[in-house]
Symmetry: D2
Subunit: 362 residues, 4 copies
């Protein structure tokens, strides 16, 4: 398929540009019979949507999703679910100046090489606005996984610039605009962001995602390992530059006896592997982490070239997130949900009758 | 597809178990007319093969590849290339003891849950022996990319346990058994590995891969971004727990002005992005890094359970790599080559006539 | 992918039910830089739309398509093209009676078995209304193929019930409601259809499609042969029960010397093969034929069962086409266009530099 | 994927040329735990293999298949099954003369246009020898479908040139070299073929395939309908020019009341639809029919051109089937098995919990 689809059995395809009339998508492969309404999707869309605090872009979008098909009398029918979100607050004239310039760190230059032609308004297709549809699609996957297996997928901000967040209180995450799981760090984050905005700068961030109660057996060796497909789906989020499963890069300086997760009849003694062995889920928490780069849209001037190859200075106007990592938590959850859902369906297809003869350990 | 294929237009499918009669694979989508012989593939297979130094497994495998189709009168025909490597030195009786046990940190437990049944000899399908075919397939991609665009894909060991390797001398890499690019570090690595073996331990490692002269425009937004598919293909290598593109996790504590790679008519001023913007190659070096966990096959006893859920102690006999990262360099190169090749073909399909009107900057 | 997509590089995905709020789709893989407007799509939509003569369903739908993305300043950008057609004249109450019954010859019974639950209004997803989006997507492919290679894809009604149409006047096809290429047969068709409606019956039909100026080399052996994928795409049209390429079933009683198309330096001497040899286009006209069954929606009662397995009599109300084959011509053209376009892109990817050293013969 | 794979969850990929060292393939997606041996595959391979009567090519090939992976202790493991058949009786020198010529009716000309270069020995990749691997793969699907659902897939010759075979005695089919189900017609077929060989001619044929006990619910609307994918897989067999489902082209002159299959609590009253409604299996027999053209390899001279575009006369030497339809029956069965198996797995993935609340009618 041509690049805008993900998942083999639970397939999400999206369309839409930042400043076009609408974003949309198709979720193909949702099993029939699940209760589903627009409200189910709106919860996560509202968590992601812009303009909910002073720390994100001030573009105002209701991000109100419409379900156009695949649901009848309140239940999924097994046919494709059409999704639509209208763009309402685009201000395209902000962008007319950049038609001929390539903002450093943006996709402008690479899109020009690829397509020779681009919708420059707000980044066009390369804008993170596209992820709204991912979040809507992810909400469908989340609901199914929760209903069938009590799977819970939760993410949180684990670092923002120099501020590391190590205390995890799951109840705190949705009560602050950063998805920060440590209530004590929120003030520090606010102060940091306020200073950053004043400075005209942007900053990177790190987000962790954890899925609980994942059934063992998900993942298809050898190329479609669960961890490999999680890496794919998480790295496909705008601005992500790194993905870790479990302990990730910390394994480089680890010894075998320390890293292998020993097993007892009562359960695993550790989870360095992040819930995946040989590319297949074990039943432990599936744990992933992503690094998000600082946005490149800055009012501080940067060097670049224009379409004629001439040296220019670029200053980015328009409304932007100074830290794209802040709104990334629901997106990361959505991508993990989509990938787990896809693998659940793939697993079922072939292994429906399998009896491991083993307990599920956590 | 069912999990053992990678790539949409340059498609590699593999089969084979560690202790079965043979490994094999099919490369579908290689353009016609390229000169190709088994020798072209053997070069990289010999770099990966076991038993070439005391620091890797002592299993002796010639890893001699046969091309069974797709090449006629010394040239590719455009039809699928069948590859076969016979296993010659399997010692399956070493493994009979583990039929009923689950080695901690191995795929034994998750395979049991998935399939209810497994080829336990040498890890069966989960063994890294499978990567031999990837290396053979990657050599085909490498050759094509080199001939058409002078693309060069090179990897190296950048860290082994606590030993960080920061000096990069490309000429040194293939002259030591570690793919270490710093000649001064080789003695230290040898000493470390000798001590490790004595101890009965294993250790993690980190490998970097760099592709030069990559044409700009490769990568399909939004899900099949080049970096997302690199993350997929690299994370699908056995034991990999993390993938970074460009500066990777270092972006978390970076500011926007520092991270965005500024552009001048003479070229980019930096490459924090690792050659990918908006998921599309820029023409700069494509840079990726992977973390490999320490092997879990240890003669030091570990806690686990058997098939009946009873507590046991596991000691792994057989012949193993104490650091799987050592032989990972040619595998990582192969996976990057396969992914770039696939994206080259995908790019061509749609953008054949595109003129960016821009120079290619490096 | 999950069943609602077709094409590997030019990928069309559709959603929508007959009586839902809208139909929609995504065309992913259209090359950038082609001029495209809604008018380009509307031409074929208007040829397919219902209610244009007394011989088709009297449901009134403007079938006005909106392009929601992928086009900027009048040109395709290379990103996915979102399509939307609102349903405006659904009368769902006509269908409430069939919620618990299975109309013979319809998908009601098989959908019930598959999904356990179905949108019964107007056939839901199984309605041929879904093909409106195919026609819109096909128009994009048609335009590209025409611009790049002067490919012309034309279809016509070649039989309706007992009336065989053998004279082909290409200029006549769009001037009558049957897509009949023989002006002299139109009155006979009208009379036949009028009698049929009076009777309460429906009738089968046959449609031919021909593509001219197709470049040689399209088609991927061995499974994705051009003819195999045409068979797939044409058989996926509602009500189609047979597909022929070239002479089709007439080959069964043909001898080799008669059937093989001899070649001279001036061109082929015949085209029994229908423009495809070994699954690859030759440059001759690509010729296909489909058989469409009579619609099963009849006011004449038929035997069936209800959801409780009880015997019932079914009479279908609502508005229906007494001959679905009449409106099938633009749909068949669209499917051929989509398949040829997909294969054009696939061919390019791998064979861009191929010089056959041969003239293109027609 | 790149053309040599079929099936999304039960995926068969093949490689190999007529005169290369071997044919091979990979079956990916077979569920674990099924007993499987080479003998299971050999039964159908022996039915297809050449040289078993004077009416097929005299090339002698044992077509002995090796299973190289995916089976352990006599059972499938769920990992890919590697298949290999060595070529033993190729006589490539027979073909050196055709290196520069294009046999009319063969793939020579279209391959030259596609690839610019081809393995001309015995048709290379375009040879029907490739289907041996399909037959081996199909045997795996057949076995699974039989064990799980008692599905039986049987084919037969229904016409050869002018000889129509209408009496179906299932017990007779495997007792004559034609797969003819009417014992009374065998002598006529023998006489016809003997005369044909003397004449130097070839002839077309028609093969029917029927699958019994297919579970209802298989098939994915709208593009991956079961009938559409059957059309794809059957049309991908060498020399096939037409595919019908159920009554096929006979529907063109049928009325709705006659064609719709009425349902009673005891079962369907007819099966004009061929076991598929709305693209989904109903539980009735799935019935398909294919037309195979006469082989174009003839010793009677035919007009063509050579690589320089010059007029030549072509006479084909080598050993050929005068009626490729004779050996097509096991191939058609295999392709139907592969497609049904794939759809069984796809159906399971999404509809595992579906209760239609309906009996399965036949």
């Amino acid at each position: 398929m041509s690049g805008n689809s993900i998942g083999k059995l639970f397939t999400v395809t999206t369309f839409g540009e930042s400043h076009g009339p609408a974003l949309g998508g198709i979720v193909d492969g949702c099993p029939p019979g699940m209760e589903l309404s627009e409200d189910d999707l709106q919860i996560d869309l509202d968590r992601r949507k812009p303009g909910t605090s002073r720390h994100t872009t001030q573009r105002r979008e209701a991000d109100q999703v419409k379900i156009l098909s695949g649901v009848f009398e309140g239940k999924t029918t097994g046919t494709p679910i059409g999704l639509l979100i209208e763009n309402t607050d685009q201000r395209s004239k902000d962008y007319s100046k950049i038609a001929d310039t390539f903002r450093p760190g943006h996709a402008d230059y690479s899109y020009q090489h690829k397509y020779g032609f681009r919708d420059y308004r707000g980044g066009g297709r390369s804008s993170a606005r596209e992820t709204a549809i991912r979040v809507a699609a992810g909400a469908i996957a989340k609901k199914y996984l929760k209903q069938q297996f009590n799977v819970e997928i939760r993410g949180y901000l684990s670092q923002l610039g120099p501020i590391k967040i190590e205390k995890i209180d799951w109840d705190v995450i949705d009560s602050n605009p950063f998805f920060c799981p440590d209530a004590d760090k929120v003030a520090e984050l606010e102060a940091y962001m306020d200073a950053l905005r004043k400075e005209g700068e942007s900053i990177g961030a790190q987000v962790d995602v954890v899925a609980r109660n994942v059934p063992p057996g998900l993942g298809e060796p050898v190329f479609d390992r669960l961890d490999a497909e999680l890496a794919h789906s998480l790295m496909s989020i705008n601005a992500v530059k790194g993905v870790e499963i479990g302990d990730g890069f910390a394994c480089v300086d680890s010894k075998g006896t320390a890293f292998r997760d020993e097993i007892t009849p009562e359960g695993f003694l550790s989870n360095h592997a992040g819930g995946v062995l040989g590319g297949i889920s074990t039943g432990q928490d599936v744990v992933a982490r992503i690094a998000l780069k600082p946005t490149s849209s800055l009012r501080l001037p940067g060097k670049s070239i224009n379409r004629h190859g001439e040296s220019i200075e670029v200053v980015t106007h328009g409304r932007h997130d100074p830290c794209v990592g802040i709104r990334a938590t629901p997106i990361a959850e959505a991508m993990m949900a989509i990938t787990l859902m896809d693998h659940l369906l793939r697993h079922r297809a072939q292994n429906i009758d399998v009896d491991a003869g083993l307990p599920v350990l956590r």
